[in-house]
């Protein structure tokens, strides 16, 4: 089919009499742009890369299913197989762990109760404080993972049992199942007791207890029949491939939604400013200048604390609220030059309303540079989002990985485990590059001065 297409094109161009037919009847404007775009090699590569990224993101649940490694769950689940010996599951990597000459001091203790739609069973408990009802499951999760992420993990098969009065008690060796992720949806009251050793975090709060019986020295590592990790696992024991593809979902979703929002907003405000001029223009441009002069990173940092702390919607709103300026300026510039064109006057003369003139006559004429601009801004948004995630201000990276967040996680173990950082960084690089290539190609393809 492709060769047929090429052949047809060649014959048409060779015959000058058909030139006119070629341009209107056979090829629409979009068609011409597409044929020019296809000739831009790098842009085509960029488009293929982007399609690949999209597929990679779409296939995330498939990767999760194949590897058996859940994306946002505890590494306990990851490090275990159903067949591993109870109590001997975690990989112990810290060199000091179990060294009798270096006492461990305080050790975190946590366990998890499934959120099985029963509010009574949701939350966490500590031995000293008895049961602690925590309605914000994610907050609890965050806290634990923070301490947990920096520590080595030891699992015992001790069971924590809630008492009717609300306190909890450890029942030694009562439970020997480790189906954490697989049992997630079942009614399991308590999974396991996990003892974490936290050499780096000093801010271990009242939930810290001293290990009484939990630690018996370093043990053998038994990975059991855990599935293969193509890209390895990260510091929390997540499969990097699964995390990357879920990260692609989140990162690309944020990037595209932000760009769509900021484009809509920018086009609307820029169109108003450029078309009406005068006071409206002055007002919008002053707001825009304010947005541009304010240092955005500190604002992002402050706002992301307010906007639900780690929800994707918050990040999208923040990025879109500050990102519309570029599109708005471009649109305004185009409208300023187009509103004095004769065809605008002609549209007025046939009785078109201002909105119709703006969005039906002027906008299609100014779309070319805007499309190029927003293509480039996709790359910018991905980078900004990654920066925010790297600073720990982005989307909650444990539950919903993003590439920037993965970089942040990986940064903690970068000397021991460089690969998560390498892979996520490479994907960011590749996507931004692809998007910029596409922008280049579009710029050339949409340029009306270039002939077909």
């Amino acid at each position: 089919m492709a060769t047929k297409n090429k052949k047809k094109k060649v014959t048409v161009i060779d015959n000058p009499n058909e030139q006119e037919v070629l341009s209107s009847s056979e090829y629409s404007y979009i068609g011409m742009v597409w044929s020019r775009f296809k000739r831009h090699k790098l842009a085509t590569i960029g488009l293929v890369l982007l399609v690949f990224m999209a597929l990679f993101a779409i296939l995330a649940p498939v990767f999760e299913l194949i590897t058996g490694y859940p994306v946002g769950h505890s590494s306990l689940a990851v490090k275990m197989s159903p067949f591993s010996t109870p109590g001997v599951v975690a990989k112990i990597t810290h060199p000091d762990f179990g060294n009798p000459e270096k006492p461990m001091g305080k050790v975190d203790f946590w366990f998890e109760i499934t959120p099985d739609n029963n509010p009574e069973k949701t939350g966490f408990a500590s031995v000293k404080e008895s049961t602690f009802k925590n309605p914000d499951y994610r907050g609890f999760y965050d806290f634990n993972m923070k301490a947990y992420g920096n520590t080595n993990v030891l699992l015992t098969n001790d069971q924590v049992v809630e008492k009717p009065d609300g306190s909890a008690e450890i029942v030694k060796g009562g439970y020997s199942e480790f189906f954490i992720e697989r049992a997630r949806n079942k009614r399991i009251v308590v999974y396991n007791q996990v003892v974490t050793y936290s050499p780096t975090f000093e801010s271990v709060d009242s939930r810290t207890i001293e290990v009484q019986n939990g630690y018996k020295g370093p043990r053998e590592v038994d990975i059991g029949e855990a599935p293969m990790n193509v890209f390895g696992t990260d510091g929390l024991g997540h499969d990097v491939l699964v995390r990357l593809s879920y990260g692609a979902r989140m990162t690309l979703m944020i990037a595209f939604v932000v760009v769509i929002l900021e484009t809509l907003m920018g086009i609307f405000l820029g169109a108003l400013a450029g078309f009406y001029g005068g006071f409206i223009d002055a007002l919008i441009m002053r707001i825009l200048e304010l947005m541009m002069t304010v240092p955005t990173l500190p604002i992002y940092m402050v706002l992301s604390r307010f906007m639900g702390g780690g929800s994707a919607i918050g990040i999208i709103i923040i990025l879109a609220a500050f990102g519309w300026t570029g599109v708005a300026r471009m649109t305004r510039g185009m409208f300023l030059s187009l509103r004095n064109q004769e065809f605008t006057e002609a549209a007025r003369a046939i009785g078109a309303s201002p909105m119709r003139i703006m969005f039906k006559h002027l906008l299609p004429n100014s779309l070319a540079p805007i499309i190029v601009g927003i293509t480039f801004s996709i790359g910018g948004v991905i980078l900004t989002e990654s920066t925010l995630s790297f600073l720990g201000l982005g989307v909650n990276k444990i539950l919903t990985p993003t590439w920037g967040g993965m970089l942040d996680e990986a940064n903690k173990y970068i000397l021991d485990q460089p690969w998560p950082a390498v892979f996520s960084g490479f994907l960011i690089f590749l996507t931004v590059l692809a998007v910029n290539f596409i922008g280049d190609g579009l710029r050339d393809a949409l340029d009306p001065r270039l002939k077909v």
Partner: protein, 366 residues
Amino acid sequence: MTSTEVILDIKNLKTYFYTSDGVVAAVDDVSFQLHKGETLGIVGESGCGKSQTMLSVMRLIQEPPGKIVSGEIYFHDENLLKVPLLKMRSLRGAAISMIFQEPMTSLNPVYQVGDQIAESLTLHQGLRGWDWGYRLVSWGLFWKWVFTGFPRETKKRLSRLKVETPAWQRSVELIRLVGIPDPEKRVFNFPHEMSGGMRQRVMIAMAMACNPEILIADEATTALDVTIQAQILELMKDLKRRFGMATVLVTHNLAVVAEMADNILVMYAGKIVEYGTASQIFRQPMHPYTWGLLHSIPRVDQPKTDQKLPTIEGMVPNPYNLPVGCKFHPRCFKATSVCKEQEPPLEKTADGRQIRCWHRITEGGN
């Protein structure tokens, strides 16, 4: 040809432009009437306010710099300067339409000409100009084209889908009316695929779409070469004969006016200096300015002389700093001290002409 029914009555129209350099009286106290079926030619040098007068009628003066300061424009019994904007919008293009100066730039480059003609029909007559089937199929075909290449037959079938909507049917009709060959194919052309004359014809078709009562041609033929100009004028004459609309020709081309106009309005520096029927003005110009305009054209019907072609000396006055008295006096060969001091009033003569001059050129004498 000219009936007595007054269709457009402009009274004391003043349109000023307030710029940072000062106030420009682009249109200063202009009054005239347009009758049904009449062709009025407005003549004058560049910047004399002829376009601004007609833009004021359409209320298309760009504000903030411009402002219609005072005056009344009666279209039938309605003062156009008082009607709400929405009503004005419904009149533009439907009852009063305008053809612009530049055929090259007056069409929107991103739409097919059929779309642009159909637009005013959809706006004013509520004809359907789009088709869901067309939209869906074209979108599907686009992707098919992206992946496989575009089959010609399908695109043709697609075009038929679009052209079957009422507004497009009428577009085809209009394009045929203005004499573009092969209208069924030409409706799908983009403006850049047409020649200047064709685009001007499309502009006329757009203006004619809703059978307006007044057609304003703002230097509609200026940018065209002479043969095309003749064709367009012939077309406009023909259309006028058929539909009986009043036409206003704004131009600085006296030949066009001589060919087309029933009445002629000569403007200078925002004011009417002479008004009369075409034969009156061409046979016997009474204002020195009109005289100068007419005599600065080489004539083929007069014997060859060695004398230089007469010109109007000097330049158009600076609009920010108009001369006191008669605005034309620095360039006028008949100027006296009266002209420098007092502005002449617009006077009516017995045979219905209007003149603004202290020293009219009378029969025979210069």
